[in-house]
Structures are given as structure tokens and as C-alpha cells.
Symmetry: C2
């Protein structure tokens, strides 16, 4: 069933004229007909089943049938921070991280980033938020993750999170393999966890130092070297496995 985010409150029985972009997608791309069912998510992140009740040109009106008892959000709020990386990697990170339950994705320049965004950042972030919306619709999220740009690691360490981690290849090489599980399991429900991932070149020693001084803990993500776009997906999956699946 199609799944759309509406920026309004919703209650059963409401007749809602869908926003133009959603209407267009339903009526023109999917050729919806009267009686077709969709899911709509309210601004309070509640999911409702609705039925197409009126089609006038490209304008689609739905009637809200019932609330669905659906919550697919991770029990802890996960933020990933990614050093600027090349090509379509930021898009891949945002798309896959959204499927894996991320709350927030932050991109920032790091010492060993070979690309700069500078003036391009507003345009890139706009596009990446569209990728997040589309992926959140596809994976039937209750929330659309936010994607943003920070100018520096200094701006990041001023932000507030309950659990703060940095994926550090040198820790993994040195055999560190306990901290990720320990830190995620120690994070209470509804609390936040942030994890920093370097660009292609990795995280520089002075960046590790700044992060450590501000309470970020080095974690290893297993023994293999992962690309810059794969490591955040490993982290988010680990959060899911440790908080959403049941142990034996």
C-alpha cells in the first residue's frame, strides 16, 4: 500500500484533499481509482488507512478509515554523521539509512574529505531530504529522517546526544569489539545515539582527539575494512539487531 506523509493532524472520518505532489503521484503515476486504499501519516507520526473517495482532475481526496497500530521506528533515536564523500555516496547513505531506521543524517567536511560542498550544500541537502522522504515512504516509516549540513566537527561536538560514538578503523584493527554492543545496550529507550563516520580517507587523529575530548567513544565495527558508505549501514543494523530482535 502507498504510504504518504502529511503535514497535518489526522483523525478517523476526516476527508482530506491530498497535497498536489501526492495527488499527482496517485492519480497520474499510479492511476488510482475510487476505493483504492493508501496509508497517510499525520504530523504526530500516527499512521492511518485511507480510501480514495474523490478524483477531480489531478485532485485526490481521501476518507480516513482507521488508525493502524504501526510503529516501525527504532527504540533509540539514531543519528549518523558522515564526512563528505564522493559521487553518489551521500544519496546511497541517506536512502539506505532511512530504510534502516535512522532519525537524522548529518554531513560535514572532515580533514581527509576530498570533496567540498561549500556553496553547493543547500542544494545538496535539499536533494538529500527528497531522497529521505522517498525512502521513508517506501519503507513505511512513521517519521521522515532529517538531513542537514554542519560546517565543522566543532559544531557537532556542541550538540547534545545521550550516547556518542565514532567508528574508528584503528580501534577495529586493535581488536576493539565490545564497545558498540555495550554502548547501544546502555542507551535507554527514546534516548539518542550518534555515530561519526569518516570520509574515504578515514578519521584523522586530531579529529579523534577532539571527539574523544567531547565524550565520543571509539568503536570497532568488526574486522573487515568497510567503505565509507557501508559503515553507517552496519551501525544502524547493529542498533536494530540489538534493540528490535529478540535474543535466544
Amino acid at each position: 500500500m502507498q504510504h504518504y506523509f502529511l503535514s497535518q493532524t489526522i483523525k478517523v472520518g476526516d476527508q482530506i484533499q491530498l497535497p498536489d505532489d501526492v495527488s499527482h503521484h496517485l492519480s497520474r503515476v499510479l492511476r488510482a481509482e475510487i476505493g483504492d486504499q493508501i496509508e497517510v501519516v499525520s504530523s504526530e507520526q500516527r499512521v492511518f488507512q485511507a480510501e480514495v473517495s474523490q478524483l477531480v482532475g489531478q485532485k485526490v481526496t481521501v476518507t480516513v478509515i482507521k488508525q493502524l497500530p504501526v510503529n516501525v521506528e527504532l527504540p533509540i533515536k539514531a543519528t549518523i554523521v558522515s564526512g563528505l564523500s564522493k559521487g553518489n555516496k551521500p544519496e546511497l547513505i541517506v536512502q539506505k539509512a532511512t530504510e534502516l531506521g535512522v532519525s537524522q543524517v548529518i554531513f560535514l567536511p572532515m580533514k581527509w574529505s576530498v570533496v567540498k560542498w561549500d556553496q553547493k550544500s543547500a542544494k545538496k541537502i535539499k536533494r538529500l531530504n527528497e531522497v529521505a522522504l522517498s525512502a521513508a515512504e517506501q519503507s513505511h516509516r512513521n517519521v521522515v529522517p532529517t538531513v542537514s549540513y554542519l560546517k565543522s566537527l566543532e559544531a557537532l561536538v556542541a550538540m547534545d546526544f545521550n550516547t556518542k560514538l565514532v567508528a574508528y578503523e584503528e580501534s577495529a584493527k586493535a581488536g576493539e569489539k565490545a564497545e558498540l554492543v555495550k554502548q547501544v545496550e546502555a542507551t535507554a529507550a527514546d534516548h539518542s545515539v550518534v555515530a561519526v563516520f569518516g570520509p574515504e580517507g578515514g578519521v584523522a587523529p586530531e579529529e579523534i582527539q577532539l571527539l574523544n575530548q567531547n565524550g565520543f567513544i571509539n568503536v570497532g565495527l568488526g574486522p573487515r575494512i568497510m567503505r565509507t558508505e557501508t559503515a553507517p549501514l552496519y551501525f544502524l543494523t547493529a542498533v536494530s539487531v540489538l534493540t528490535e530482535l529478540q535474543g535466544s
Copy 2:
């Protein structure tokens, strides 16, 4: 350090003239010089440090310095089976699965696959094995995963694995969240686990029936709907978290 797979046994002190493709990459792409260090992996999956000792035209000879005590393979052998999917998804699956430690990737047509490979399969599989080799070099694996094509699910169920799983969206929707952890933890070291993933349309009921009749267990991978190329990466990460990281 560059990491290359050689199809021969290696011992410390050996002088090895590298194969043409590796020589070319080192001498022309990376402009290697005498004394540069690389890693070479023997046909027995042992990793050695070697030093460039001779450069004649594009021919590179290395001297093997020492064996490195490196094993980055998953403790259990993981095979993923993927219903044929569109576009560059098979490449993405192979590349990321290799980074995440997969042993074997099998592609096969499934009922709801919208693409067919048929005559193209040999060419596709050749290309995908190149992707696996390149990703195995980048992620410093001890083994290059194999990529192959099977004609049908019937051919798959005739194969032998210790633990057999199928990722089934309907199980996840019904709240199944215990089997993945249980089955992976019950798989002994060096034993094999296989997991089947449907194409974009999912796994058809009659395919689930065939798999279940042949000992495949339905597992949920958390509450969110994942794309066909994301689910195998979730599975492999879960295997890593459950077998390579230490619990608190």
C-alpha cells in the same frame, strides 16, 4: 596497503613475479617503486607482507617478508541467495556483501522477478565475480567470495547448508523477531548459513512453501520494509554483530 589475491602457495622469502593484471595495476595505476609494501594472499587464504623488489617494464616482482596473523572472515560461512533484481542492484549486493564478509552469493530467477538473465547470465556472473574480487581486495578479505547463477529455487533446495533461512516480509509483519538471532547463534563455527531474499516483488507463497518443505525457516529482519538490495546487507551485518562483536 594494497591487497592482492594470488592463486598459488606462498612462503616467506619467496620471490614472486606478480600476474599481469596485478603488475599493471601496481606499476601503471599506482606507480609503485622498489621497496613499496603490499599484501598478498595465498591460495590457502594466508596473508603475507611483501615488498616490491624488481620492476622491469610492467613486470613487478615482490619478495615475501613475513606472514601477517590476519583473519577477517566471518566465523560462520554465510551464503546469500538473491532473486534477480533490476538495474545495478546485483552489483551493489555483491560489493557490499563482500565488504560484510559473505562467502557465496547466488542469483536465481524467482516467480516475482521482473527481469530475466537467461543467455546473459554467464556474462553477468563474470562481471559480478570481478566486482567481488575488487571489493575483497578493498576490504582485505582472506577469501574472494564466489558469485554464481542457479536456474531455479529447486536447484537451491538440493544444496547442502547447516542453517537455512528465508527473509519473509509477512513474518516480519506478523511480529516474528526471534528466529534470526536464534538460528545464527545456533550455527556452530565453520558451519554454513544460507538466507534467501526475494526480488523487488517479494517471495511468492508457493516459493515459501517449497523452501519451508526443504527446511528453510522464515525470519523477520525487523519492522521496516527494506529494498531487495538492503535486506541481505542487514542479514550479513546481523551475523557479524552476533558472532564477531562481544556482548556486554
